[in-house]
C-alpha cells in the first residue's frame, strides 16, 4: 500500500501573507460548493436554496437587524477568545461563561423587577461581565497554578453551567405563571436594552421600524477598537502573541505565563458574559433553558476564520450570523432542519484548517517519473 499523494508540500521560508487572506476565502468558496452539493443531494434546486440561505435573509432592513443581533454577541465572544488563542490558551468554555453572564444579569433583573430604575441595565451589564469572568476564573486558577488542562476544564464547566441554568429556570427562578415551563418572568423595561428604533432622535426610527436590533450592539462597537488596542498595540498583547508563536522566547524574556493565562481567561470570560446579557436582556427578555444557539462554540470558528485579528473577526462574525439566519430561513422555506447551519459551520472550519496549509507550504505537483524513496506502509 502506498500513500503517495499527487502533490508534495514544500515548506515556505516565511508564511505567505497573501495566502493568509486567500485561505479563508478559499474555505468559504469550498464550503459553498459542498453546500450546493448538499442541497442538490436533498433534492432542492441548489440555486433556489442558495438564494434562500444567503440572499433572502439580508434582502431587507429587518434581515440586517437580525444579522446584527446575531453577529454582535458572536463578535464579542470571538474577540475575547482570540486574545487567548493567540497565546495558545484554549478557552473552549465560552458557552458556559456566557450562561453565567446571563444568569448574573437575570438575577438582578428578577430581584429588582418591581423597584428597578435607569441604573438596572448598566448594573446587569457589569454583573454579566463579572459572572462570565468568575466562571472563567475557575479555569484560569486551575490552569495557572495547578497546570490543569484548560480545554477540558472550561468544557466541563460549560456542562455544569448548562445544568445550573436548568436548575434555576425549573426551580427558584421559574415564572410562577409559567405552568411549569422552564423560563423566568419577562424582564421589565428597565432591564432590557432599548431598541434602536425607539431612539427617534437618531433619525433612524422610520427606517428601523419593527426591527429588533437594540443598543447591545454598542457594546460590540466599543469592544472592537478596544480589542484592537489591546491585542495589537499593548505590551501585554505583544506578550500574548510571543507566548503563542515562540513559547521559549516568552519564557526567556521573563513573561509571566500565569499572568497571561489569567488575563486571557478573565477577558474572554467577561466578553462571553457580556454576550450573555445581550441575549437575555435583548431579543429574549428572560432566561430559559434553551436560549442560546451555541454562540460560545460558534465564536471559536469566528475567531479562527477571522485569523485572530480584529477586522477578520468582525467579517467572520457577520458571515457566521448569516449562516444562522440562512439556517432559519431554510427551515421555514425549504423544510430543512435548522442544524444545517451547524453543518456549514463545521465544514467551514475544517476547510479553513485544510486551506491553511497554503500559508506555510508551497504545493508542488509530484512528477510521476521521479522515483521517490518512501518507506512502504505496513499493511
Amino acid at each position: 500500500m502506498s500513500l503517495q499523494l499527487p502533490f508534495r508540500l514544500i515548506p515556505r521560508a516565511q508564511p505567505s501573507q497573501r495566502m493568509l487572506v486567500v485561505a479563508p476565502l478559499l474555505a468559504v468558496v469550498l464550503t459553498l460548493l459542498v453546500g450546493l452539493g448538499i442541497f442538490a443531494a436533498l433534492g432542492q434546486n441548489p440555486l433556489t436554496a442558495f438564494r434562500v440561505f444567503f440572499i433572502d435573509p439580508v434582502s431587507d432592513i429587518q434581515g440586517w437587524s437580525e444579522l446584527l443581533l446575531k453577529a454582535s454577541p458572536l463578535c464579542l465572544i470571538a474577540l475575547g477568545l482570540a486574545i487567548g488563542f493567540r497565546a495558545n490558551i484554549w478557552n473552549i468554555g465560552a458557552e458556559g461563561q456566557m450562561y453565567l453572564g446571563g444568569i448574573f444579569a437575570t438575577g438582578l433583573a428578577i430581584h429588582f423587577h418591581e423597584t428597578g430604575g435607569a441604573w438596572l441595565l448598566p448594573a446587569m451589564i457589569i454583573a454579566a461581565a463579572v459572572g462570565g469572568a468568575l466562571w472563567a476564573a475557575i479555569t484560569a486558577a486551575l490552569r495557572a497554578h495547578l497546570r490543569t488542562n484548560e480545554i477540558l476544564v472550561s468544557l466541563m464547566l460549560t456542562y455544569v453551567a448548562d445544568l445550573l441554568v436548568k436548575y434555576l429556570v425549573y426551580g427558584p427562578w421559574q415564572d410562577p405563571q409559567s405552568n411549569n415551563f422552564p423560563f423566568t418572568i419577562q424582564f421589565g423595561d428597565d432591564a432590557l436594552f432599548p431598541l434602536l428604533a425607539s431612539w427617534s432622535w437618531l433619525g433612524f426610527d422610520t427606517l428601523l421600524e419593527g426591527t429588533r436590533v437594540n443598543l447591545s450592539i454598542l457594546m460590540t462597537l466599543v469592544a472592537v477598537p478596544l480589542a484592537w488596542l489591546f491585542m495589537d498595540r499593548s505590551f501585554i498583547g505583544f506578550q500574548l502573541s510571543v507566548a503563542g508563536l515562540a513559547p521559549p522566547a516568552a519564557r526567556y524574556a521573563g513573561f509571566s505565563e500565569k499572568r497571561l493565562v489569567w488575563v486571557a481567561l478573565l477577558l474572554s470570560g467577561a466578553a462571553a458574559g457580556l454576550a450573555g446579557v445581550s441575549e437575555v436582556a435583548g431579543p429574549i427578555g428572560q432566561l430559559n433553558d434553551r436560549w442560546t444557539p451555541g454562540y460560545g462554540f460558534t465564536a471559536i470558528i469566528v475567531a479562527s476564520l477571522g485569523r485572530l485579528h480584529v477586522v477578520g473577526i468582525v467579517f467572520a462574525a457577520l458571515l457566521m450570523a448569516l449562516l444562522y439566519l440562512g439556517g432559519e430561513a431554510a427551515q421555514i422555506a425549504l423544510q430543512l432542519p435548522k442544524a444545517i447551519s451547524q453543518v456549514f459551520q463545521g465544514l467551514l472550519l475544517m476547510f479553513l484548517l485544510g486551506c491553511d496549509v497554503l500559508v506555510n507550504y508551497r504545493v508542488e505537483r509530484r512528477r510521476a517519473a521521479l522515483p521517490v524513496v518512501q518507506p512502504v506502509a505496513a499493511a
Binding site: 499523494l5 477540558l152 466541563m156 436548575y167 463545521g346 485544510g354
Partner: protein, 308 residues
C-alpha cells in the same frame, strides 16, 4: 445490605463501558502522537450510524459495523487535515466535534422519538453471574460490554507486547527517530487515528443501541470529553483506562442512585457530578506534572512533516 449495592455497581459498569471504548481509541491515537479532540463528534456520528443501521433492519451486527466505519471515516478526514495538510490538531479536533454535532443533528432529526427496534441485551454468564457484587455487574453485561474487556486487554497487549505496538509508541515519542529507523510515521498515525475513530464510533453505538436504545441530538452528553480526560488520568496506560472508567462510571451511577432513593438534592446538581468529578480528577493528576511528563507521548499534538 450488599444486594442493595448491585444496581449501583451494575450501572457504574454500564456507564464505564463506552468511556473505556472511546478512551482506548484516543489512547492509541495519542500514543502515536496525534491528539484528537474530536471524540465527542466521532461518538455522535457512530451513535447515529448505529441507530440508522438498526432502524433500517441492519441488525446489531450492522449497527456495530456502521458505527465503526462511520467513526473511522470521519476520523480519516481529521487525519487528512492534520497529518497530510499539517493543520493544528487542537483546532482540527474541535472542528471535528462541531462538524459531528452538526451533521448528526441535521441527519438524525427524522430518527428522533423512535425506539431502537433491536438492542444489545444483558447476557449473564452462568455461575459467574451469581458471584456476589461482581456477578451482577461484571458478568451480566451485554455483548458490547464483554467485547470491551477483550478490546482493553488486546490493546494493552498489542501496545506493549508486539512489534507494531513498539513502533507506534516509538513514533509517538519521536517521529524523527522513528523515520530514521525506517518506520512509516504518517501511515501509522493514519491507522491510529482511524482506530480511534472506529472505537469512538463503537462507543457511540453503545449509547444508541445498548444504553439509551434511541437517537437524540447530543446523545453522548459530553462523555467524549470525559473520555479525553480519562486518557490523561490513565497517564496513557490502557489498563488504567479501565480503572479510571469505573471510577467515572461510579460517579455517574452514584448520581442516578441518589436520585432513585430520593435524596433531597436537585437532580441538576446530581447530573453535574460526572463533570465536576472530571475536573477534580484532572486537578489531582496534574498536581504531579512529572508523572504527566514521564508518560505523555513526547510528540503529542505536534505536526510532523515527512519531507522536511
Amino acid at each position: 445490605m450488599i444486594e442493595s449495592l448491585n444496581p449501583l455497581l451494575a450501572s457504574a459498569v454500564a456507564a464505564a463501558i463506552p468511556l473505556i471504548l472511546a478512551a482506548l481509541g484516543e489512547l492509541v491515537a495519542e500514543r502515536s502522537g496525534v491528539l484528537n479532540l474530536g471524540l465527542e463528534g466521532m461518538m455522535l456520528i457512530g451513535a447515529l450510524a448505529a441507530f440508522v443501521a438498526v432502524a433500517h433492519g441492519g441488525g446489531l451486527v450492522g449497527a456495530v459495523l456502521a458505527a465503526m466505519l462511520a467513526g473511522a471515516l470521519i476520523a480519516l478526514v481529521f487525519g487528512f487535515v492534520t497529518l497530510t495538510l499539517q493543520a493544528n490538531q487542537v483546532a482540527a479536533g474541535l472542528s471535528l466535534t462541531i462538524l459531528g454535532t452538526g451533521i448528526t443533528a441535521f441527519l438524525g432529526r427524522q430518527y428522533v422519538g423512535f425506539r431502537a427496534p433491536a438492542s444489545f441485551v444483558e447476557l449473564p454468564i452462568p455461575y459467574l453471574s451469581e458471584i456476589p457484587l461482581l456477578g451482577p455487574s461484571l458478568f451480566s453485561m451485554n455483548l458490547l460490554g464483554y467485547a470491551t474487556l477483550v478490546l482493553l486487554a488486546a490493546t494493552a497487549w498489542v501496545l506493549y507486547r508486539t512489534r507494531a505496538g513498539l513502533a507506534l509508541r516509538c513514533i509517538g515519542e519521536s517521529p524523527t527517530v522513528a523515520r530514521s529507523l525506517g518506520l512509516p510515521v504518517i501511515p501509522v498515525r493514519y491507522a491510529a487515528v482511524a482506530f480511534g475513530g472506529a472505537m469512538a464510533g463503537l462507543a457511540g453505538c453503545y449509547y444508541a443501541v445498548a444504553q439509551f436504545k434511541m437517537w437524540q441530538e447530543g446523545l453522548t452528553s459530553g462523555n467524549g470529553w470525559i473520555a479525553l480526560a480519562l486518557v490523561v488520568f490513565a497517564t496513557w496506560r490502557p489498563l488504567r483506562v479501565g480503572l479510571g472508567a469505573l471510577l467515572f462510571g461510579g460517579v455517574s451511577a452514584l448520581g442516578l442512585y441518589l436520585q432513585a432513593i430520593n435524596v433531597h438534592v436537585s437532580v441538576f446538581a446530581l447530573s453535574s457530578l460526572p463533570y465536576l468529578a472530571t475536573i477534580v480528577v484532572l486537578v489531582f493528576i496534574s498536581s504531579d506534572q512529572n508523572a504527566i511528563r514521564r508518560n505523555a507521548p513526547a510528540s503529542l499534538g505536534k505536526a510532523f512533516h515527512a519531507d522536511s
